[in-house]
Structures are given as C-alpha cells and as structure tokens.
Amino acid sequence: MIHVENLTKYYDSFCAVDQINIEINKGEILGLLGPNGAGKTTTLKMLTGYFKPSAGTIQVNDYNIEDNPLEIKQMIGYLPESSPFYKDMLVYDYLEYVSKIKGIKPSDRHPRLRYLADLCGLNHIMHKAIGELSKGLNQRVGLAHAMMNDPEILILDEPTQGLDPNQIVEIRHIIKKIGQEKTVIFSTHILSEAEATCDRIVIINRGKIVADGNTAELKQSTDQKTIIQLSLLNAETESVQNTLTAIEGIDRVESISRTDDGVLKVKAYSSSTEDLREKIYRTIKATDWVIIEFLQEAKTLETIFRDLTRQIN
C-alpha cells in the first residue's frame, strides 16, 4: 500500500533521514520507534507530504507524492506531535471546518461529527475554545481531526503523549479498532505501548532503519546475545572463568563483583540460540560451588531497543 524507497532528508548538511526503504501493507499497525532525534517525526512528516524529501520516492497505492500530493493527502489522516490547532476556535467550529476542507458532503457532516465526538469522547467540550483544553483533550481533538474523512491511512505522531493512563488505554483501544481495516502508522518511544498495539515494529536510529519485524521476530534476531547471570558462593574467580568458558556455546565470562560475604557474581555471554541453562547447571553440580542466584536475562523489547540504538552510537 505504501512504498517508500531511498527516502532521504537533509536539514542543511545534517542528514535526518538516511535512505529509508520500507513497504507498508494495508491493515498493518506499524509502530515507529527510536530515540529522540532519530528521524521518526521527519519520516512521518514526509509521508504526510508536509516535508519534501531531499531524495527518494513515496508511493501510496498508485499515487506518487510528487505528482499527486492532493490525492495522497485525501487518503491520509494525520495527528501531529503537539496537536497545534487554532486556539481561538471552538472545537465544534474547528471540526466542522476540517470536515469542509476534507470534502465531507454537507448532509454527512453532522452524523460524522457526532460519531467522532462519541468515539473520541468530545461531547462535553464541543463548545469550548481549543486553547482552553488540557493536553489530553487537545490530543483527542487531534484524533478526531485525523479520522475526519475515514482515511485509509492514519499517521499519528506520539498519539499517547501527555495522556493519563486511562486515556492511553482508550487511545490504544481506538488504534487497534481502526487498525482492523485501516493502515495505522504511529511513532512512540514508549516500548510497552508499541509491543501492546503494533503488528510490526520498525526501529530507527540516526535516520536509518535498524530493525523491522513483529515483536517475536525482533526478539529472535540472531545478533542478539543471551546473558546468563550467576551468583556463586565458595568459588574462585579464575576457576569459574575457566570452567564456564569450557562449556560449548559460551563465548566469554565476565566477573562482575565479589561481595564481602564471598558471593561471586559473573555474567556469561552466549550468541548461540540453544538454551544453555541445563549444561551450566550440570557443570556447576559437579563442583562444590553453591548457587545463590541463576538467571537468564530475558530479551525484552527494551533490551533490544537499547542494544540496537546504542550499537551505532
């Protein structure tokens, strides 16, 4: 549905987005993750047609953003990062204005506004000025704005930013509901949110895509290291190093600390996909060390994210 090729954006000499290639299918909920300044917002702004790419192409269905920007804009609903709306306008007036620009037929306008007011919980603030609204309510107005003409593609830049926990759950619920038939692309740096909502996660760092896939795929990505942490009593640092390194599959062993009561803490690193916990247990059983703690660090999205975005730094 959306085909992005070699998308690049320079701000003067600073390269914010560096040759991104991505294919987004219909009905996907795609989460765009990355540290601050990674190029998430810039990428989204180019997809919506607000920024002109320095190089590369964006194709939505059969339309190219260069040649048919209006057709693409008609298909996209966009919620910008800080929901900057006209502060003096009433919510109702603003949404009506948007409905006119987006070409909603006069007869459909009121039912549509009513539906969106219910969906986004705007009924009690329809006659307030936008400037008086709190951040969360402002965000909901933005969501109604983005969904005005029932767009095929919804692009949301940090949709849950500034919302209270209940609203976050609500918005996620809305996103999931919309995502059943529409394509949703949203950026966030809350990882649990991406994990809970997205079919597919794309992590970008310094303008480049560093990971792309669903949560399970990301966790399996092979260049990931398994880390096993052990706390042992009655053990010598050197013999622990030697014994554990001898186990097939363990790359290296690092001693972390030795406490006053004689507990030695080590970390074993492995890059094999095999579960090494049994081997380690059996090896230790043969010695007279006492296991105080034995744990395999789970690969969460958090650790993957940190690894991927740090590696390059």
Partner: protein
C-alpha cells in the same frame, strides 16, 4: 477548485468573532473621520478629495495590521503543518487568505460611504470622482493586502510581519513624492512604481489600463512571492 472558500470563510470568521475586526475598523474610521472633517468645513467644498488623498497613507499601516496574522500566526502556533497536510494546494491557501484580507479591507471602507451620502445632503456632490475614488481604494486595498500577505508569510512573528508590510506599503505610497532624489532618466519608472500615483489617477475618475495593469501586477507579484516564500519552508 473551491477549496479556498473554506479557508476564506474560516479567516473571515476569525476576524469578526474576535475583536480585531472591530478595533481595526474603529481606528480606521476615527483617523479618517478626524483628518477629513477637521478641514472639510474650512474648505467649504462638497467633494471627497481630502478623504481620498489621506487614504493611501492610512491604508499603508492599517492593512498590514489586518494581514499580519494570516500566515505568521499559523507558522507560530504550528497549525500551518496541519493546513498543509489537508487536501488543499498552496494556491487555495494563498488565495483564501488574500481574499479574507481584501474583504476585510472592503468591510472597513463600507462605513465611510456615510461620508459622501451626508455630503450629498448638504451640498452638490459630483459622484464621478467618488465612485472612481472607491474603485481606486479597492484596488489599492487589494494591492496592500497582497503585500501584507507576503510579509506575513516571511516570518513567525506578527509584529515583524506588520513592520515589514507597512514598510513596503509606505515606500510604494511615498516614492512618487521623493522624485527629486532620483536622476532624471529614471523619473518615469520611479513614478510608475508609486502606488499613490496610480491611485490618484483612478480617484480622479480616469480608468486607464496602465493603472489597472499596475495594481493587478503588484497583486500578482506579491502573491507569487508568497508562494515562493512558502515553498522555501518545505
């Protein structure tokens, strides 16, 4: 095609819901009324010449005050981004905003029609120059609105937009009064550039194509420059 009307309506609504429109119109009426009628009875002539000779210089700072917010405010609060991601073209946006400024100028002129009507009651008013004067005022208003829109598109700051717009309008108004500074060979060109010079021609009741071409081309150049200024922001 008609997308610009939505933007036009929205801008007009903004003008007339907020106090801006009423404040600007009042200030305009007080200034023109004061200056015009303070000398009107001394001259003891039933014409509007005094009013129309004042108009360009008053327009030169009132109209940029009307147009200063059109783009600068959107750029400042960031709603410009939303506007551009909606299905509208640059020309829809520019024409919509220019038309709003222009209609606002017309709304400002409308109450001044009370002057010729009351003069017609107390004296024998020649309507030809009055009609010409209003036609010229609309052309001049359109020209200054277009310049104001351009100034507004250059900056995030409304005050800068105002000063910039007023400066350009002042130069165009006053340039034909500074002719003695210029070498003789370019006098005609400088005179042709002056907005006041063309306004006076139209206000005398002479509809000359040269004056029309002047106003229309300044409007066109200003709006096209606005387009280029917006394009640069991408």
């Amino acid at each position: 095609m008609w997308q610009f009307t939505h933007i036009l309506k929205k801008e007009l609504k903004d003008y007339f819901i907020s106090p801006i429109a009423y404040i600007v119109i009042s200030i305009f009426l007080i200034i023109t009324g004061w200056f015009f009628f303070s000398t009107f009875f001394l001259y003891d002539q039933a014409n509007m010449r005094g009013f129309f000779s004042l108009l360009p210089i008053i327009f030169a700072f009132v109209i940029p005050a009307i147009t200063m917010r059109l783009f600068a405010e959107e750029l400042n609060i960031g709603s410009y981004e939303i506007l551009l991601t909606m299905p509208v073209t640059f020309s829809d946006i520019i024409i919509g905003k220019f038309a709003a400024g222009f209609i606002m100028t017309g709304a400002m002129l409308l109450p001044t029609l009370a002057y010729p009507i009351s003069i017609a009651f107390i004296g024998d008013l020649d309507w030809g120059p009055v009609i010409g004067g209003y036609l010229g005022a609309l052309l001049l208003g359109g020209t200054f609105s277009a310049i104001g829109v351009f100034a507004s598109a250059l900056t995030h700051n409304q005050i800068i937009a105002f000063i910039l717009g007023a400066a350009i309008c002042f130069v165009l108004t006053l340039i034909d009064k500074m002719l003695f500074f210029f070498p003789e060979s370019i006098l005609n060109i400088i005179e042709y550039l002056g907005a006041d010079f063309h306004f006076r021609n139209v206000a005398r009741g002479i509809i000359d194509s040269r004056d029309m071409i002047y106003f229309i081309s300044v409007i066109f150049i200003s709006l096209y420059s606005t387009y280029l200024a917006l394009l640069r922001k991408e």
